[in-house]
Amino acid sequence: MTALSARRPPGEARMSWLIARRAAIESLRDRLTSLMSLFFAVVLPLGLLVFVVQPAAARSAESAIGGMLAFYLLVVGLMPAISAVGIAAGQFAGEKERGTLTPLLASPASNLAIFGGKVLGAILPPLAYAVLGETVYLVGVAVLLGLARLQSIPVATGFAMLVMVPAVTAFAAIVASLISSRVRTFNAAQQLAGLVLMPVWGVLLTVAIKLPDWGTGALMGAITGLVLVDAALLVAAAATWRREEVLSQI
């Protein structure tokens, strides 16, 4: 074996994708996380439909049902997305505890690629489960309440609720990753992230209830605003994150 000239490491996007894919696969392999996510993606939407939505639909005026179904579309999507906080908390602090972070920090991957990849890796599995949950919910609405009720969901509101799920998941993952990269333990990361995100989730759900009343323009504005906040937060977090700080905690 001889030492040869080094290879050319991949660019930022490819490197981020490599890191994200590995992180996503790893979290999907975690049995407890998968079971929890499957519960949120399959059992919870069905339970919500049978025990909450169906009785509520029976009591509500026909004109209000579409908005209610759209709101629960967001709820069903966000439930599995909560696991993004746990996954993101494990990306830095958890790996620090397990000692698996150093080889990646010692690689040619840039700070942006590592941070971006870790955030993306925390987002992808919950989003997959969110899609599954929303599909189960929509199919359940069609089966239990009828196709007409499914078609009563306002298109703009339904679209806004669907898009809000990845935007909110990304927000949660970025915040949790940021905290995770700056604390020493997984528990500390998870607790701090929960503390920061709880009020945010509360505000979001309140706004989501009101959104249909504000019209399509406000809906699109809210979504665009959330995406912009995500992008700004990601760039700021990646720019302020330093591998030296992470290393000094190992």
Partner: protein, 315 residues
């Protein structure tokens, strides 16, 4: 090739490394020795492009650690005391991931992984999750990861820490195998015997400073006031002491054991064993003395280490 001059690293008020200069030519192993907190890991992290030096300069594999740390990281391999493996991955998948991160050509990657799995005797477990691997096996995978992109510089930060003696010996054998004509290796270790056996050069760190640096033999020689030589003879010779005393370079000759039918042992000291010992042997042989053995005792690396870390570094 590694060249560092005046490296300094400060964490807040703590100066972890101060004025470290070293050179590791291609094809050699430098052992960094020092007690816990001496600055070995910080030095390695600076040289591996993970930590920026506060002051000082260093080039590793031709790249400046300060201005181009990413290029440095792309050209070095690092193994720490903790293998840092993902338990749920198989060695093959793990190596494939790092091969991609280091940009190993896809068409070469599988061949390279197969070569390393073969080299480290991991072929049989290539598709087994690493959760149940022994420390020795984990360290083999970590070594394979560090060599995947064929780096010209390898940093081994206490690679045998926590390993049982057999696994440690196996890793040491692998390290010897890594030494090639074009690869520079830096080995941080607490194991002085390991350093003596593997390293071409030893640098002893104390409180962030290099307090001694040379080949193990030179360090031992420098720490020894004079080598102690023991000469065993088949039979006692009354003129033995006189022969020794008359030989140039011999100091303090004495009869070590009482003469007996089983023979006799003489001792002497010398500052220059390479020249003095042949003279002594020639003188004894020409006097008709039958020599059983000649042994030379100098200071051990442990003595050198103890002396170096006990001495206050120069301000």
């Amino acid at each position: 090739m590694i060249q560092a001059r005046g490296l300094r690293r400060q964490f807040g008020r703590l100066v972890a490394v101060e004025d470290v200069s070293l050179c590791v030519p291609a094809g050699t192993i430098l052992a960094l020795l020092g007690p816990n907190g001496a600055g070995k890991t910080t030095t390695v992290r600076m040289l591996a492009g993970l930590l920026a030096p506060t002051t000082g300069e260093a080039t590793v594999a031709g790249y400046d650690v300060r201005s181009d740390p990413a290029a440095v990281r792309a050209h070095v391999g690092l193994v720490t005391d903790s293998p840092g493996l993902h338990d749920q991955m198989t060695p093959a998948a793990y190596l494939e991931f790092f091969g991609q991160v280091y940009g190993v050509e896809p068409r070469c990657l599988q061949d390279r992984i197969a070569e390393l799995l073969d080299l480290f005797d991991l072929k049989a477990v290539a598709r087994t999750r690493m959760a149940g691997f022994s420390r020795g096996m984990q360290q083999k995978v970590a070594l394979a990861r560090a060599l995947l992109h064929e780096p010209s510089v390898v940093f081994l930060d206490e690679p045998t820490a926590g390993l049982d003696p057999l696994a440690a010996r196996m890793v040491r054998d692998l390290i010897v195998g890594l030494k090639s004509g074009s690869r520079s290796i830096v080995l941080c270790t607490h194991d002085l015997d390991e350093a003596e056996r593997l390293a071409d050069t030893v640098a002893i760190l104390r409180r962030g400073r290099i307090v001694a640096s040379d080949t193990p033999a030179a360090l031992r020689a420098a720490a020894s006031h004079a080598s102690l030589i023991r000469v065993s003879l088949t039979a006692h010779r009354p003129d033995g002491l006189a022969i020794l005393a008359a030989t140039e370079g011999v100091l303090d000759p004495r009869l070590e054991t009482s003469p007996s039918a089983a023979g006799a042992v003489f001792e002497y000291r010398t500052l220059d064993p390479e020249r003095t010992n042949p003279r002594v042997i020639a003188a004894l042989v020409s006097a008709g003395v039958d020599i059983v053995s000649v042994t030379c005792t100098t200071a051990s690396l442990e003595d050198v280490f103890a002396l170096a870390v006990a001495t206050e570094p120069a301000a």
